[in-house]
């Protein structure tokens, strides 16, 4: 049956007006249109999910076939990233250890207003007769031979040699060449400690004759008599052995020297 052209035009006109009306309403934020779209998405969602899941192997195969080169490159890149991440994870304990040491080295809270420089221990060489600690600070950082070197726990040693703008060596208090004047915190007894070349003990030479007030476990700090060491820097605790001999156990753990702080005292070079 032939159709009237005017009917076709009328339908075309009506549908055009309808479409334009819908667009205008949508642009003006007409709520029911948004609701209709949301409902359509919500209702079709389970079906779309089902279809997507059912054909995902086909889709994966298609994408794999079409993008094989890209997948290979992406795979290689991901392997590289995984390797890097594994490396980072493996380094995490070292980083945490460094952080702990840095916090310990910079957590020192005595020596008043004196300036200080934090340095990283870049080498730790132990020979049969001495231990050489090298740090990454030097003359350009204001270091001078003799300046005390501390960590959070207490006195670690002194600057031994400043041989470059950013290189120095440190002599630990356990070295037999280092002598430090001390005071007992409880008894007030003065003493001089000397390294014995071993990390775990310091020789103590008391200056007083009456030692009855000295007890094992007493804390000893620098007495400040020397220009090298400011007062009140913790050094070690006293140990009285069964045979009556006495020595100091240093507070500093010399096996964990990652970072140190140099106190910028007024030392004559």
């Amino acid at each position: 049956m032939a159709k009237s052209p005017s009917v076709s035009r009328r339908i075309l006109f009506l549908l055009t007006v309808t479409a334009l009306g819908l667009m205008t309403a949508d642009v003006r934020g007409f709520g029911p249109i948004d609701s209709a779209r949301s409902t359509a998405l919500a209702v079709s969602s389970p079906f779309r999910d089902f279809v997507g899941t059912a054909v995902s192997p086909i889709a994966d195969t298609w994408n794999g076939a079409v993008h094989y080169d890209e997948l290979e490159a992406e795979n290689a890149q991901l392997r590289l990233e995984v390797a890097q991440l594994e490396g980072d994870v493996a380094r995490l304990p070292d980083i945490e250890s460094d952080l702990d040491e840095l916090l310990a080295a910079t957590g020192f809270d005595v020596a008043g207003d004196l300036g200080r420089v934090t340095a990283r221990v870049i080498s730790d060489r132990q020979t049969g007769i001495e231990r050489v600690i090298e740090i990454n600070r030097g003359s350009a950082d204001g270091l001078v031979v003799g300046m005390p070197v501390v960590v959070g726990a207490g006195l670690a040693g002194r600057v031994d040699d400043v041989f470059a703008d950013h290189r120095s060596t440190v002599l630990l208090i356990t070295d037999s060449r280092v002598r430090v004047g001390l005071n007992g915190v409880d008894s007030g007894v003065s003493a001089i400690t000397t390294g014995k070349g071993r990390n775990d003990q310091l020789e103590v030479e008391f200056q007083a004759i009456d030692l009855e007030s000295v007890q094992g476990g007493e804390r000893f700090e620098t007495n400040g008599f020397s220009e090298l060491y400011p007062p009140d820097i913790p050094v070690g605790s006293l140990v009285v052995a069964d045979d009556g001999s006495v020595f100091l156990i240093p507070f500093v753990d010399f096996d964990k020297l990652g970072f140190v702080t140099i106190i910028l005292t007024e030392v004559t070079p």
């Binding site: 049956m1 159709k3 009917v7 076709s8 339908i11 075309l12 549908l15 055009t16 309808t18 479409a19 334009l20 009306g21 819908l22 667009m23 309403a25 949508d26 642009v27 249109i33 209709a36 779209r37 359509a40 998405l41 079709s44 079906f47 779309r48 999910d49 089902f50 279809v51 997507g52 054909v55 889709a59 298609w62 994408n63 079409v66 993008h67």
Partner: protein, 177 residues
Amino acid sequence: MISARWSHVLVVLTAASVLQTGIFDQLLILDRVRIDLLVMVLLGVGLTADPRSAAVLGFFTGLSVDFFRSGPFGMHALLFLFAGWLLGMTRDRMLLADGSFRTVQGAVAASSITAATWIGAAVFGQTPPPFNTQTLVDLLWIGLVGAVLVHPADRVAQWMLFRRPGRTPRTDLARSE
């Protein structure tokens, strides 16, 4: 009143929308070209029905697209309405087209509908693909897809439009409503 034919339309549009959003939106040819089932439905309808029926079905096909795509609601309905009508006009002039010419028709129509959609999107404030050589290549690929899928789209359109395949087309679809 919905006749059996309209229920077929509903089934086809619903299935095409679900398949499009569930599968074909994720499948890209050359990383750029997407097979658009609803454009294929429009293609089949436009090349099978008379202009008025093609326009009406194009409108509802576009409306189906509007539910699942961004842009002003009704934009695709408007574009598909005129695309269907124009395709229907073409069909009226090429009733004797053989299979090979049908293939060419499908290719040209698919590219044209897609290009018209892009232009329409630009007119209505959307962001169409930039006009460059790559876009022209994309349109060629879309044409190729249209050429391949025009025959199945014809079958689907016949199922939507005719009570039995092979029978004389009922071209008074709009009047039957």
